[in-house]
Symmetry: C2
Subunit: 218 residues, 2 copies
DNA sequence: ATTAAAATTTAGACAAATCTAAAAATTTGT
DNA sequence: ACAAATTTTTAGATTTGTCTAAATTTTAAT
């Protein structure tokens, strides 16, 4: 499998998950910053190799084999992200670019050893679940901070927007995964929130709140 | 710089070191298991980019910039080898193939962090020196075990043949870097050696002895 | 020194992955 | 339902890295 094929498979998974709904070539092209005609070429190739089902003019969806392949790539990406943060002190906005390269390294022993070294983590630094070796993973029961009611509380478990800009903003404001967050009050006017985080009160915009995932306390 | 360019530069360095002697396209082709005509094409490209000096029909040699580039790739390769052995318990015959992939990862921060994680090692698992960030490295004062005289002793510091077959053989016979070796007697007939290693006496062939590097005790 | 052998380069082809521009199919709006 | 707009595919070109076969240059031998 070439690096390019792997990138297409990963993108198709991110756009369609394991559903059998067809993903348009346009959507894939946009996501990958390439041209639809290039996607068509690759779609044929991936269909030939059994990774996707491809219906002309309709789009593609991953076969079971394609899903298995995608999960293996995502597993590698997320494990490397954890490695970079836990072992090499990368900040969470720095990991993605390097993990994009490391995810293509071909060695089962290598990634299994990294997994063991990290003590089999279940979530990556952005809170996304890491598929196990056999492709299973658990999406955490979580909700957007912006959807929480006043006088509820929970733990910050993930981010929706994973751009470096957003992650740097969170760093600067000491918002990190694992932090306890209490919703004090919601402004009707702009939907901004007054919250208490790790003992300190602060005021955050709707835009920020709608990109933070919270696991509600029982 | 493409992966292919990096592989050519590395090979040219391994064949010619930092000397200005010209390396033939044939030699490079043989080493890389490719065709001389492919090497010619790449030689032109590398010359254009300033990595090598290329004289038609004569061969190539690395420029200062090419040497710097080669050392940076070798540094990455060897640091990854140490990482695999020290942190992930790879055996020394397993590291090369994976390091061949890892050496192409582009992130200065990554390799510097790996270097620090490993506490700035000076030698890789085969005893080869690891260039520092600024391209300096010290070749250890060493000699082949087969060149040592009876009644001398030293420490095993490297291997000449790095093939998996040879490394596995050494493992099986508990011959490892750091072991103390005393030469007891040399057979005139087949040049085989009687040695004492870590307290135990054994008899090794000339072929083995001529692929083990020893640092003589003062 | 001339020729035969060996090494090296050139020319032309190919596969992978991409692009542009044009053609074809699908979707949308009325 | 049909024309217009949009999406998707096809056809042909480009780049990178490779190859084969032929031509050229260098080296070696007598």
């Amino acid at each position: 499998m070439t690096r390019s094929e792997e990138n297409y498979i990963k993108t198709i998974f991110h756009l369609g998950g394991n559903s059998s709904a067809l993903i348009s070539t346009n959507a894939i092209a946009e996501q990958m910053e390439t041209k639809p005609s290039s996607v068509t070429d690759m779609a044929k190739k991936l269909a030939e190799k059994g990774f996707v089902y491809y219906k002309k003019y309709q789009g593609v969806s991953l076969t079971d084999f394609g899903i298995k392949t995608a999960l293996s790539i995502i597993r590698k990406h997320r494990l490397w992200e954890v490695f970079l943060v836990e072992k090499l002190d990368f900040s969470w906005d720095e990991v993605h670019e390097v993990a994009e390269q490391l995810e293509h390294i071909k060695s089962e022993k290598l990634i299994d050893s990294i997994d063991a070294l990290l003590d089999f983590p279940k979530y990556d630094p952005h809170g996304d679940p890491i598929p196990s070796k056999d492709g299973k993973f658990m999406e955490r029961d979580k909700q957007l901070l912006s959807d929480m009611d006043p006088n509820t509380e929970g733990v910050c478990v993930g981010v929706k927007d994973t751009s470096a800009a957003f992650l740097k903003f969170l760093d600067k404001n000491n918002i990190a995964l694992g932090n306890t967050i209490q919703v004090l009050e919601k402004e009707d006017f702009d939907l901004s929130l007054h919250i208490k985080m790790e003992g300190k009160e602060l005021h955050i915009s709707h835009q920020i709140a709608s990109n933070l995932y919270i696991k509600k306390n029982d």
